[in-house]
């Protein structure tokens, strides 16, 4: 950072204005969805930003015991949570081990793994999804949880490996050597000296991986056909209004708000882990 000069009054105003523009630009759609989710169907096309009368109708529709979209939404929510969590867990464990090996061990093919990981992640999802659809149908993975978890791993693993490799490279190598001299096996040294330090990095990476899996739409809509595995982003497209002349916009907005909540909660929960500078003081500081 270097020396930060004190801002003059005019600069402060300019910065505030820029910040405001960015905030509005980023948050306006969210607020709009939130407002829409509280509108009555009759209120949808009035052109007002805020609902004329606040109502929980849309939420009742997707969550209530006799809501029309309740079954569709809740089963997809269960699928989304389950599939994303499992994909995140598997990719975190695999990526941690892979990144550790890449950062710490000198073996032939280190570069190859990293470039392959990068290569995998640059394939457009849409180009893979059709062959995958055929393959999944013939081997019986179509419309199952593993049928989504596996493609999600292909999305989350490359970025996890890259992020964690960078993170592991920052952890002082000597800590592990010190642990080995203190009487630890290679595994113990990893678990007791490196894992606690790597935890913030692993959490951050897991969080990113979770969001990637949670937000996926293309795989979700192409590789599922029933409530057995369909995740929320795909399920939203199947919402229908109370009658065929009614838009399901309200219900979709309510569902969108509901699926945003876990993301916000996760960020708030892990924020401290991410920020905490645990490596400080390990070496001369």
């Amino acid at each position: 950072m270097g020396a930060t000069k004190a801002l003059t009054g005019r600069q402060k105003i300019a910065w505030a204005a820029i910040t405001l523009v960015v905030l509005v630009w980023a948050l306006f759609p969210v607020l709009s969805i939130l407002a829409t989710s509280f509108k009555l169907p009759s209120d949808l096309n009035t052109g007002n930003f805020l609902p004329t009368s606040w109502s929980w109708t849309n939420y009742e529709q997707i969550l209530g015991p006799d809501g029309s979209a309740q079954e569709l939404f809740l089963s997809s929510l269960r699928n989304s949570i389950g599939i994303s969590l499992i994909a995140t867990a598997i990719s975190s464990v695999l990526a941690t081990l892979a990144a550790y090996a890449i950062a710490r061990l000198d073996f032939p093919g280190r570069k190859l793994i990293l470039t392959t990981a990068l290569g995998v992640s640059i394939f457009p999802v849409i180009s893979i999804v059709t062959p995958l659809f055929n393959l999944w149908r013939s081997i019986g993975l179509y419309d199952t949880w593993p049928g989504l978890i596996i493609p999600y791993l292909s999305l989350t693993l490359p970025i996890s490996i890259w992020t964690l490799t960078a993170f592991f490279r920052q952890i002082p190598w000597e800590l592990e050597q010190a642990a080995q001299v203190d009487g630890a096996t290679t595994w113990q040294a990893f678990r007791k000296a490196i894992v606690p330090l790597a935890a913030p990095g692993v959490f951050t990476t897991a969080l990113i991986a979770f969001f990637i899996a949670w937000n996926d739409f293309v795989y979700g809509i192409s590789l599922t056909s029933t409530e057995a595995a369909r995740p929320v982003p795909a399920a939203l497209a199947f919402f229908s209004g109370a009658s065929q002349f009614e838009d399901p916009t309200g219900a979709i907005s309510a569902a969108a708000v509901v699926v945003t909540i876990p993301v916000v909660v996760l960020v708030l929960l892990f924020q401290r882990q991410i920020v905490s500078g645990l490596t400080q003081g390990a070496v001369k500081g």
Partner: protein
């Protein structure tokens, strides 16, 4: 506790460059041995091979009677203090020190761990910091935690890798004496790597001087100072460093840039048939002739020289005297200077005079030295022609005796302390 025996240890990296080349060293049980040398001489690599963090390319390493070449670090039962301490940042000081004990599953009860950690903490005066994290400690405290982690278990030997180089000068002095005291009291075999010659001279029972991966000389600090085997050791040990002057042999006298001196009896035979030698003269062996009494003056040689710069340090006074070196030895001396991490500055002689000397910048000084203290080196091989093996052995034997006495005293103190009598140093401290 155990002896450590190195036999023809070689470390070659992938490109075939030998970082350590054929080092043989016998470290006795309870001995404090220093590995010293300029940067890149392979001293740290050697230490890391002993502890097991580097593979040994060839040679044999024994701890006690056991060959440990292929053993993992954990099976060698050594304790090491790293240069940057390598404390576990997520653990408190207590847990950092307890770490090696907890790794030995089932060997210690929680109670025993507590006793051991608290004993180590008391030894190093860390008791009030046990609940803190390393990030909140000062450099000296972190250093002590690292030492606590080393002494808490019964390691067969302690290994130190430049433990004091991250501390400031004052703290370094205090920790140095603390390490010496601790080693004496525990009587544990210790190998200590440093590039600082003050640490090397004050701490070690014996000092091993390394240059480009090869062992130059292993001897007590005093023997290294008085009887260095070659130019490199002579130039490395001593501060300010030894002056090297070209000396032309003319019959019974040596012609130095500042005048002729008689060749000392002991060197006469070895100088036969040589024209040119390198003469080593320690700065502290030169004195201001004007402050000497007649008797002493008559025993040595005097010469006058133009003083370029004078540095007055209170206790002593350094005078810098430029001279023209002989073309035939200039290259050898330059090479030596590079080996010693020098900058190839102008050729000048440094003399350390008493602070009462009246020598000033730009003045002409009358200087005196005893020719018997000159060291004479072969200009080609760098070998010390005046090296007296017998004298070196005698000095080593004396040092060994001193060490035994110090160890015994330390043990007596420890026993007294165990019997409830406060030891001498604790009475002082309170």
């Amino acid at each position: 506790m155990a002896s450590i025996t190195l036999t023809d240890i070689v470390k070659k990296y992938g490109d075939g460059y030998p970082a350590v080349n054929g080092v043989s060293l016998d470290i006795k049980d309870g001995e404090f041995v220093i590995l010293v040398g300029p940067s890149g001489c392979g001293k740290s690599t050697l230490l890391r091979m002993i502890v097991g963090l580097e593979d040994i390319t060839s040679g044999e390493l024994k701890i006690g009677d056991e060959v440990v070449n292929e053993k993992a670090p954990r099976d060698r039962h050594l304790a090491m203090v790293f240069q940057n301490y390598a404390l576990y940042p997520h653990l408190t000081v207590y847990e950092n020190i307890a770490f090696p004990l907890r790794l030995q599953k089932g060997k210690y009860t929680e109670e025993q761990i507590k006793d051991n950690v608290e004993y180590a903490a008391d030894t190093l005066e860390l008791r009030e910091h046990l609940d803190r994290k390393p990030a909140n400690l000062s450099g000296g405290q972190r250093q002590r935690v690292a030492m606590g982690r080393a002494i808490v278990r019964d390691a067969r030997a302690f290994l130190f890798d430049e433990p004091l180089s991250n501390l400031d000068a004052k703290l370094r002095g205090q920790m140095r004496t603390e390490i010496a005291r601790m080693q004496r009291r525990l009587g544990t075999t210790t190998v200590y790597v440093t590039h600082d010659q003050t640490e090397a001279m004050t701490l070690g029972d014996r000092v091993a001087v390394l240059r480009k991966g090869e062992l130059q000389q292993v001897a007590s600090p005093r023997a290294l100072y008085e009887q260095p085997v070659n130019l490199f050791v002579a130039g490395f040990i001593g501060s300010p460093p030894m002056n090297f002057l070209p000396g032309e042999v003319h019959g019974d006298s040596l012609r130095l840039p500042f005048g002729d001196v008689p060749i000392p009896e002991t060197a006469r035979g070895k100088l036969a048939g040589r024209d040119l030698v390198i003469v080593g003269l320690r700065p502290e062996h030169v004195e201001d002739a004007r402050v000497l009494d007649e008797d002493k003056r008559a025993k040595g040689a005097t010469f006058s020289a133009e003083v370029d710069v004078v540095e007055w340090l209170g206790a002593e006074l350094y005078a810098y005297i430029p001279f023209e070196t002989h073309a035939d030895v200039a290259q050898k001396l330059e090479e030596l200077d590079r080996d010693l991490d020098g900058e190839g500055m102008r050729t000048q002689m440094i003399v350390s005079l008493g602070s009462e000397s009246r020598v000033r910048d730009g003045s002409s000084a009358e200087l005196w030295f005893d020719p018997r203290r000159l060291l004479i080196f072969d200009p080609e091989s760098g070998e010390n022609l005046t090296y007296d093996d017998e004298a070196a052995r005698r000095i080593d034997a004396e040092t060994e005796e001193d060490r035994r006495a110090a160890l015994e005293r330390a043990h007596r103190d420890a026993e007294k302390q165990a019997n409830g009598e406060p030891a001498a140093r604790h009475r002082q401290a309170s």
